[in-house]
């Protein structure tokens, strides 16, 4: 998923780290893309330009991007109701994403899926899912298919800690461990299960649960793109070698509410807590600091990336706003093949 970038002489001199830098600059761009995308979605909602609701991924960008950067295009993911970040990170285009959110014909699902159901088989995205935890079963089934077809693909199931309340997740993990399926469970612990702090609805420790099936668990800082990427690389290598499933528990934070309409959040979390996460643990700001401070990336290069992403988002929205709705005759298409 690398893209060409302009290299400065300083960067050329760091030959050994160059590959890493290119990759991390791409990850930086992808995280920004998700952040700007979600901020724009929020604006579209607030200005009543978008039908329905959306669940924003802002704050959690390092997880989708770090995981998907370690995957190939033909690897599979299943996503959640909070899925825009996963879809973009796996390679979806901004314009067709916006078009789907606005219910337009050019959308990824021709306007039939909307925010919670974006699927893109061309990038291995088996679909976002509005049933919490359902993607774990589908991803594990894709992993069974991979094993039966004897390919070296990998399937990733993204879900929040809310899904740990669903029995399906445990049934799927049991079979994945029994049959050494190439699946990676990525739990995005954004602290809240809808409007409830996770500790209020979860007994015992989260990581003990996959461990009970003999699935290796890594508990990592989901705000640190490098940790996410490197941990996923190890899990992917394990899966490709036929060594079975892994579970990655990522500590993270949801900047917005459960959905765009969840504005007054004082009854379940404080503004101070929100500000603290944003100030101290923002995945994009921290990545920027690291790129400049330790990797000696010129800030002008990062500014260029920000401008490029900003343009891409603006053009994407323009495209979506201006493209047509599906013809009403399409309502009965695609029920059956």
């Amino acid at each position: 998923m690398k893209k060409d970038i302009k290299k400065t002489p300083e960067m050329e001199s760091m030959a050994t780290d160059l590959l890493d830098i290119e990759q991390y600059l791409h990850m930086y761009e992808q995280m920004l893309k998700i952040r700007y995308f979600e901020e724009t979605v929020n604006e579209l909602y607030k200005t009543a330009k978008m039908p329905g609701l959306a669940h924003l991924y802002s704050g959690e960008e390092a997880i989708a991007v770090g995981v998907c950067e370690a995957l190939r295009n033909d690897d599979y993911i299943t996503s959640t109701h909070r899925g825009h970040g996963h879809c973009l990170a796996k390679g979806a285009a901004v314009d067709r994403m916006f078009a789907e959110l606005l219910g337009k014909e050019a959308g990824y699902c021709r306007g039939k899926g909307g925010s919670m159901h974006i699927a893109d088989p061309e990038t291995g995205n088996l679909g976002a899912n509005a049933i919490v935890g359902a993607g774990s079963g589908i991803a594990t089934g894709a992993a069974l298919s991979i094993k039966l077809r004897h390919t070296d693909q990998v399937a990733v199931a993204f879900f929040g800690e809310g899904a740990m309340g669903q029995g399906l997740v445990y049934e799927a993990m049991n079979m994945a461990a029994l049959w050494k399926l190439p699946v990676i469970y990525v739990c995005e612990k954004n602290q809240y299960v809808e409007y409830t702090y996770h500790e209020e609805v979860m007994a015992g420790g989260l990581s003990a649960r996959p461990a009970a099936f003999g699935i290796p668990v890594e508990e990592i800082d989901g705000q640190d793109i490098r940790q996410v990427y490197e941990t996923t690389q190890q899990a992917v290598a394990r899966a490709r070698q036929g060594e079975g499933p892994s579970f990655i528990a990522c500590d993270t934070y949801r900047y917005y509410g459960h959905h765009v309409g969840d504005i007054n959040r004082g009854y379940y979390r404080s503004k101070e807590e929100e500000e603290r996460w944003k100030a101290e643990r923002d995945p994009i700001q921290n990545a920027r600091k690291w790129l400049i401070g330790e990797m000696e990336t010129p800030s002008s290069l990062l500014d260029d990336i920000e401008q490029k992403v900003s343009d891409e988002i603006r053009l994407g929205v323009e495209f979506a706003v201006n493209c047509p709705y599906p013809h009403p005759s399409e309502v009965t298409e695609n029920v059956y093949i």
């Binding site: 299943t78 899926g113 159901h117 359902a134 079963g137 594990t140 298919s145 077809r149 079979m175 093949i337």
Partner: protein
């Protein structure tokens, strides 16, 4: 074979063999799994045990444990995994031991499999078969005896198959496996030992083609699955008092062959719809409304519905036998509708 009616095939001297419904299903799997390596079966005790009903016995010997997969008792888990495998190039058959367990897997079937093709704007497909059972009077009580075909029939995106003979079971199962849509295939537990003729040569039966199981002129009995034999027995009794009943088996509740049903009722002017599901809001209600909509001016009597009594299926034989239509109760209803009291 341009006809899908057994009598017509016999008249055309198509070579036949007599086998049980169980054997017909087994043979359909054998033929399809030899033809297409992407087909696999997953469920509880499907491999060496061949299911508790022994219908799949021997498949694992030919196809191995990678294609006949014994799963833990985790219906939601392996049903969902079937959906994921179907979306990524395989053609799974998910074995749900009892139809009552549809309650455990309705998310995989109704929210996932049924909707993936539509939600993705036609880009993903889910070629999967959920194979399960229906039918009471096995003294298995309320959680192992229901006939829940109305549930999947209600959900757009699903096809629902209810075979009533070995010939139908084999031909329809092969079609179900080849279909690119999710199909729910429901077998009557009491029919597995029923013997019947099937063509020696390979054949399939398309969905949405009802079968006229008995021709008649006085009353139409539309019957599904387990109720087909009940309707045929009732028809014999009605014949004894001079009432000539026609028995129509839709074979699939979706797609539904409305035309064959409507044409029959236009001819007979009377109809009873039989299905072993609960009577209220059920398959019988849907088919009765099709008749009322399209044959209203031809009717000489109200369309009657006969299904399972609206109670949880009781255990005691003395109670359970009251809950389902029998040849006698259907005979009485037919007699009443034809005013032969």
């Amino acid at each position: 074979m341009s006809t899908y009616n057994l009598d017509a095939l016999q008249a055309a001297k198509v070579p036949m063999q007599e086998i049980t419904m169980s054997q017909a299903i087994h043979d359909a799997f054998m033929e399809e799994m030899r033809r297409d390596p992407s087909i696999f079966i997953i469920g509880e005790d499907v491999a060496e045990a061949g299911t508790p009903f022994k219908v799949l016995l021997g498949l694992v010997d030919e196809f191995g444990k990678d294609r006949v997969i014994d799963a833990p008792i985790s219906e939601p888990g392996f049903a969902s995994m079937g959906v994921g495998a179907a979306m990524t190039g395989m053609r799974p058959v998910v074995d749900i031991m009892f139809g009552d367990f549809l309650g455990l897997v309705m998310d995989a079937i109704g929210n996932q499999a049924a909707k993936v093709h539509y939600m993705s704007g036609g880009k993903l497909k889910v070629p999967i078969v959920f194979r399960t059972t229906l039918g009471a009077t096995r003294r298995a009580a309320a959680q192992h005896s229901q006939s829940l075909q109305a549930w999947p029939s209600h959900i757009p995106g699903l096809k629902v198959v209810l075979p009533s003979t070995p010939y139908d079971a084999k031909g329809l199962l092969k079609t179900a496996i080849r279909d690119d849509n999710p199909v729910v295939f429901m077998e009557d537990k009491l029919s597995w030992q029923m013997k019947g003729l099937v063509p020696v040569e390979e054949y399939t039966i398309p969905f949405g083609v009802a079968d006229i199981k008995r021709r008649g002129t006085d009353i139409t009995l539309v019957a599904t699955s387990s109720m087909v034999q009940v309707a045929l027995s009732a028809a014999e009794k009605l014949a004894e008092i001079g009432i000539d009943a026609e028995v129509i088996d839709p074979r699939t509740t979706f797609p539904l062959d409305k035309q064959t049903i409507i044409e029959s009722v236009k001819k007979t002017s009377r109809a009873i719809v039989l299905d072993e599901g609960y009577e209220r809001y059920g398959v019988t209600a849907e088919i009765a409304s099709v008749i009322a909509d399209s044959a209203f001016y031809y009717l000489d009597a109200p369309v009657k519905r006969m299904g399972a009594m609206d109670v949880p299926v009781p255990f005691s034989p003395a109670l359970e036998d009251c809950t389902v239509p029998t040849p006698d109760t259907v005979f009485e209803m037919g007699k009443t509708l034809c005013r032969k009291n």
